[in-house]
Amino acid sequence: MTSRRQLLKSALLGGGAGVVAATALGSLGPEAAFGAAAPDVAPGAPDPDFAEGRIRSVKENTLLVLGSNMVFHRIRIVDGTSLWKLGPTTFDQAKPGDGLYARGVRMPDGVLAAEAVWLNIVNIKGHVRNITAERIHLDHKGQQVLCHRVPGKSVAIYSDAPPSGDLSLLRVGQHVQVMGAWRPDTNEVDIATVFSAH
């Protein structure tokens, strides 16, 4: 891992071997930005390269996932797959019961080779009903959702201040949007980001 990091660092800072495009400062050229092919999916048709559902079982490097439309997906995690669970995480954190969204490439045998997997990610809007120790009680359409602050991870984004780990400016009664990691089978969420209107 360290050598790969050193390789990447030297690519960035010193123009090491294998650099395709790099900038001392600022952006890549427009040819890089427009280099990606547009997804080839007909409107309204399901995207074959996407899967969602809850993990039923984990076998070696494959997740068996039951989609909300009762379709099973086999999702293969490879070394380059990014996993998210309140932040970048490792494969051993994927547990049966976790919800997920996955994007990757559908192989001929039907397995989705995942490029990115987001575990338990949720995006909720609501009103702050109350704030207690390390917790925000969110009212989401009459349902109470308990949002936990995770020190070192949770970030607040205010409209008039740079993002920071300081959630103390949130007020009871205000409207917020919370992105976070659901704790499976509860009404509780660990906060990744909370967006505040002020």
Partner: protein
């Protein structure tokens, strides 16, 4: 007990009077009638007339209770009205769990336990009021009446913004349950936000095929690696400072695989 029975008509009637006047006079409440469970019960087109009808009924019962002489029929009417409220709440909870009840002013909160307790309390008070006979008021009865009114108001979610929200705000200000963490550690999300705003990320984002694969801090910089097809995109963002133009990016042939 006679005193308590004699007291109930006053408390109930004042509460009903308030509910009736809101229904009959509050323009905002009429405007939101379509979003209440009442609209589900009688149809959206008839929601406003139904709201007015309930308001008139409440006004009539309140007037009968308030004006002498007391009679058992008044208590029965109030009890019937309260039982109707309870039935309506049960209907709303079952059939339209996301609609508000439209009981006491406009708000968007669905029917909850407090609404049921309030209607139940009103029903109990109405049943007690059936046996009401003229009885001289004394300070202890007045205090009890006030206490009942406070409980009824406390159970009204419509009024929370006037007392519960400020109270909670005060408690948050005093106790600081989300006191800022110790400075020094920069959460990854803060860096990612800076990244998203940077010209470097904007120019490379179309190539990215994964989320964050790896991240580490070195020399005051935070390195963030993403998969970009068979390649890897690595960003370096300053840990301190918020200038997006300081973010650098390189697209390398180092495979995404480790």
């Amino acid at each position: 007990m006679q005193g308590i029975a004699a007291l109930q008509p006053y408390v109930i009637s004042l509460f009903l009077l308030w509910a009736a006047l809101l229904k009959l006079l509050d323009r905002r409440m009429r405007a939101q009638a379509g979003q209440t469970a009442l609209a589900g019960l009688v149809g959206p087109a008839r929601a406003v007339p139904a709201l007015r009808l309930v308001g008139v009924l409440e006004l009539a019962v309140a007037a009968a209770l308030l004006l002498p002489p007391p009679s058992a029929a008044e208590g029965v009417a109030a009890a019937a009205l309260s039982a109707g409220f309870l039935g309506y709440l049960a209907y709303a909870h079952r059939v339209a769990p996301t609609s508000s009840c439209g009981c006491l002013g406009a708000h968007s909160r669905p029917v909850d336990r407090r609404g049921f307790v309030r209607a139940g309390l009103l029903l109990a008070m109405s049943l007690v009021a059936i046996g009401a006979e003229p009885y001289p008021m004394d300070p202890s009865l007045v205090a009890l009446g006030l206490a009942e009114a406070v409980v009824l108001l406390g159970l009204s979610a419509e009024l929370d913004r006037h007392w519960l929200t400020p109270l909670r705000r005060l408690r948050v200000r005093l106790r600081r349950p989300l006191a800022p963490p110790s400075p020094g550690e920069v959460p990854l999300e803060v860096t990612l936000r800076l990244l998203y705003l940077s010209p470097a990320y904007c120019s490379a984002s179309a190539l990215l095929t994964s989320d964050v694969q790896d991240t580490w801090d070195e020399d005051g910089l935070r390195f963030v690696a993403y998969g970009a097809g068979r390649r890897t995109a690595v960003f370096a963002a300053p840990l301190a400072g918020g200038d997006p133009s300081a973010v650098r990016v390189a697209l390398t042939e180092v495979p995404a695989l480790t």
